[in-house]
Symmetry: C2
Subunit: 410 residues, 2 copies
């Protein structure tokens, strides 16, 4: 152990243009420096209620049950699935990338009867496909990913909630990678449960998972309620359906904690709550439409710049996430060496890829605080310089010019 116990925290000032986490907005980090409160102090419960109100706007919903799960985005996914899907119940999942597979992985452990719409990476499911699969499989719950960063594609969700309701199916959407960057239109989609994270387009650190739950999903979950022996009144507290297989992720208990009843569950992660609250305030002050347009502009500029370098952008333009772009690594170029040089010479991080796309594409993000013109231009300029150094033939200056032109055309 070194004498100074490894020294003060002092990360390099790096521009994070990967698929997330990205640089946090400085206001979020400053908010997190506020001191603790007792978890049932009126100021703390007031901050919790404000956070609920703020995230209703973020999720574009009237859902009362809109709050935070204390863990990373993946904690929100598991809380939603373990609370919605009963052991043995049928779950229909759209699997079109790594995070669709993650939904399966989590659901297997719950003991769900999993049915899948398997889509090639880079494509999306159509409403017709979804409805046909619902009719064929009659699931209790339908689940999909909104924006799967592994493929950079966004699943269209217009009408999907309505299809599910018509067939009596509960619906869940993971919006970790899009919340705060693209419209996560919970009520317009008509979906029941949506979860997100802070570390992508919300411009905060990883470690808190916002969630919203419709009244009908909440009723389903409350029927699975069970109150801890150490604090419960009597057995009338217990609901009739199969008990939720996790205590930490028991949304019925977490709803009681976020209700006026304030039934003790975990101890709310105070600093992360402060950060989540501030991230939402920044988003609402900017305005949702302005913020989505800022992400669209950054994504469009990135695509134009990459194409002007002669690179091939991955996937379909029609379904592209606005906030992260997949681009093929050109033949003869060592993708990892390019990433290392970007980091070493320019202090810019771009992303690698998973599964079938590993070694095939880079993933370049422009999310939250980083979905800005200057950061897109700096990234393209740096990538051009590194590719030139690697012997890749390109027209110098074309990438930045093309990206800038898309901004000027707005």
């Amino acid at each position: 152990m070194p004498q100074d116990f490894f020294g003060q925290i002092d990360p390099p000032q790096r521009l994070l243009m990967g698929p997330g986490p990205v640089n946090a907005h400085p206001r979020v980090l400053r908010a997190m420096a506020a001191d603790m409160l007792g978890q049932f102090d009126p100021e703390m419960t007031s901050y919790m209620n404000q956070t609920m109100a703020l995230y209703r706007c973020v999720f574009m919903t009237e859902n009362h049950w809109t709050f935070l799960i204390d863990g990373t985005a993946r904690a929100g996914i598991e809380a939603a699935l373990v609370s919605l899907v009963e052991p043995g119940a049928r779950l229909l999942i759209v699997r079109a990338g790594r995070f669709g597979l993650l939904l399966s992985e989590i659901a297997q452990r719950i003991g769900a009867d999993i049915r899948a719409i398997d889509i090639p990476w880079g494509e999306v499911a159509t409403p017709t496909q979804i409805e046909a699969a619902i009719v064929a499989h009659r699931p209790q719950v339908f689940a999909c990913i909104h924006g799967d960063t592994s493929t950079t594609m966004a699943q269209p969700l217009d009408g999907v909630g309505e299809i599910c309701r018509r067939h009596g199916v509960l619906s869940y959407v993971d919006a970790t990678a899009t919340l705060g960057g693209m419209a996560v239109a919970t009520d317009a989609w008509g979906v029941d449960v949506v979860t997100g994270g802070l570390q992508k387009c919300m411009g905060g650190p990883p470690g808190s998972a916002p969630i919203t739950i419709s009244d009908r999903a909440a009723a389903h979950i409350m029927a699975r309620k069970h109150v801890e022996a150490g604090i419960r009144g009597d057995d009338s507290e217990d609901g009739g359906r199969a008990r939720i297989g996790s205590n930490y992720f028991d949304l019925a208990m977490i709803m009681e904690y976020w209700s006026d009843r304030r039934l003790n569950h975990h101890t709310e992660a105070t600093s992360m709550l402060y950060g989540a609250r501030e991230a939402a305030r920044i988003m609402l002050a900017e305005g949702l439409e302005t913020r989505f347009a800022r992400h669209r502009a950054a994504g469009r500029a990135m695509v134009a710049g990459l194409r002007a370098m002669g690179l091939t952008v991955y996937g379909q333009d029609a379904y592209r996430m606005t906030n992260v772009t997949g681009v093929y690594i050109p033949d003869g170029v060592d993708g990892e060496r390019v990433r290392a040089r970007m980091r070493a010479d320019f202090e810019i991080e771009i992303g690698t890829a998973f599964g079938p796309l590993a070694g095939q594409i880079w993933r370049i993000g422009a999310m939250g605080y980083n979905a800005m013109k200057h950061k897109v231009l700096l990234t393209l300029g740096a990538l051009e310089a590194v590719l030139r150094q690697e012997g890749y033939a390109l027209t110098s200056g074309a990438a930045v010019d093309a990206a800038r032109a898309t901004y000027e055309a707005l």
Copy 2:
């Protein structure tokens, strides 16, 4: 929604002398203001490795597998139990307060065959009782709470790990409320898995759960390993034992993430990692023995002060946690009104109680950054003033004098 979206975060400057969360050390909050890093950037993985080394000292262990669970202290408990205890396997739990009951609650959801040593609140189990129960029940895992804040008693653990090993039983200890304040002597106790939290004696915010795992427990857990379909190589990745029932809390996968292999699981909660790292640095710079002595001094002064007011301290002196004290609410005094006045007039929070002790005792903490002479004296002085106002007969000044005398006698 108000025009300013509820305004900037601005909690009152309150002294938190309850059972936790308590005020965070300012250095911890400052460390958390550092910006994000990519999760596989070498600086980030270096911070992760440093955090492992620092928490080996905090847990007084040589265990390689010593890291953080991304959630509150309760997340650490669930990760330990769901990863150790197979469905249907026998688990022996010491239940002597609310958090012993929580262990049962979590284990029920895992499907464990639960056996308990039920102890009246305010008492502790003896090694003889524990060994007799192990012999009688032959569990796969033994679990207990080190310091249960619901009763303010600390379970003695000398020799307990050795008893478990002799009988081939894996052991788990929850040290949420004692880590950083009392000796959590993982290796000396010989226990296999210990978890903690930041928000009590570590002087940080809630939201990160340090954990340490012995090699034999790690081998047991790795035999339950399963790698996600989206990122795995082939089926040789899967171990032979019953799969862990949670993805987020799958310690086998989390160990792979904290290993040099860096197999992607969740996205590490960067700010909470920075905070946990700084909390450990502060503890090690202070010195473990000095820090434990500081908590002992504060606890002793609190007890002396409360008794000098004529109040009756709850539980047995021999097993009292040094960092939180239970004290009976005197007859004719409204406990909640006293707490409200402490907060309104003095900006000091003291704790209420749960279950059979609700309405019977207050719980007054002196943890981490708050285990300091001046904070103990200020709390006693304020409590005396409030009790006097409530018509409780006491000798003015006696509490502070008695507490100060214990410091002067050191």
